[in-house]
Symmetry: C2
Subunit: 225 residues, 2 copies
């Protein structure tokens, strides 16, 4: 009897599994975990309910699978962006702005240029970030995210070692707030760009973010030179 965990031993129809993941990703990201039924997902994917259990097991397993599908690529994108930002030289302001840019750019880029799937995924991320921590279904994801945050804080502290540590945490807290809000309100971004998103608009938006939050850091004592 085929238990849920085995995938494509013979290449057959993993396309069905992808359709289920797409449907789940889209619905979860809008209505949340409890607001979506397996029958909703199956209907959206055009398959039978039992197929969700065959391919992914329980509903919670399916939710985990939705996240895991893109998590690695997403984490890699951010961490490599941070590594690149570390190599930037110049004034503190320049280096700090590079770090801020490396935090915003990958996820904004994926959301705006990665197609509908990535847009749904990043919206789902914001939803996960607001979940009660007791939810074990996303604890692994949150752990890796927290580790990433810690590495960002560390880099920012090497740039401004004399800055109060609490203040650095506050600054980064505001960065997280902004990125979360952007992901949730992605419709607003669509509206702002009038439906047809230009690459120049996207770059301009990132520069707004860098300018605003770079200045914010200075408001809490970060040095410019």
């Amino acid at each position: 009897m085929p238990e849920a965990l085995k995938k494509q031993d013979r290449r057959r129809a993993p396309e069905t599994a992808a359709r289920i993941l797409d449907a789940a990703e889209s619905l979860f990201s809008v209505r949340g975990y409890h607001g979506v039924s397996l029958r909703d997902i199956a209907a959206e994917a055009g398959v039978q309910v039992a197929l969700t259990h065959y391919h992914f097991g329980s509903k919670e397993d399916l939710f985990r699978s939705v996240i895991e599908r893109r998590a690695d690529e997403h984490a890699l994108g951010i961490s490599t962006a941070l590594e690149q930002a570390k190599t930037v030289t110049g004034t503190r302001e320049t280096r700090r702005q590079a770090v801020i840019r490396s935090f915003f750019a990958p996820i904004v880029e994926k959301s705006m240029r990665g197609g509908q799937g990535w847009k749904n995924y990043v919206r789902l991320l914001a939803l996960v970030a607001n979940m009660p921590q007791e939810d074990e279904s996303v604890s692994a994801f949150r752990q890796s995210y927290d580790a990433l945050i810690a590495s960002y804080i560390e880099v920012l502290r090497t740039i401004d070692p004399e800055m109060d540590e609490q203040d650095v945490h506050w600054c980064f807290f505001f960065l997280q707030a902004a990125i979360t809000h952007i992901l949730v309100e992605s419709k607003m971004l669509d509206r702002q760009s009038g439906g047809s998103l230009q690459s120049s608009d996207l770059d301009a938006m990132i520069e707004k973010l860098v300018a605003f939050f770079g200045a914010g850091f200075r408001g809490l004592g970060a040095r410019e030179d």
Copy 2:
């Protein structure tokens, strides 16, 4: 037959209704609308399920009632704070900081000094803000909130009339992001204050917000003099 809308014609036990609202407020704010059943709420309140229907009607009506209980007081607090901020004179920076303070202070104050009920309520607000707009159960609330935002934008534009209008919207977008994130992560604030919250800590936090976001505005072209 008593239909759901009639309240205390004779003063009897509105205390029960309050207990139901408290339970619903607490549970909704953590697990969301769909993550909580009427039986959960009734159990938390120590009453029968049918009582929720007797006092408040449907589940959606109950959700609305939870919000409406505190919405007026909350809205009044913010709008009076804005009116006071309008009277502040001095440099643009001073006046702008007063506006920013008036946006953060009332809600942070209620969350930290208004008891557990208010803390749950403001967390629920952040949850509502992330709801899909199609949900009609909160459309009235969102309308009044949007109107408030518009009045804030208007005041900020009178302070910096030469600033690009889009940039003003961006700045305020970041303000909203911060307040939302603060409400969701209220546990973090508790931890930061070590459980025993001092009034001085609260004031210090608000000053961090004002300093950071005041500087952020300048990063997008707001003038200081």
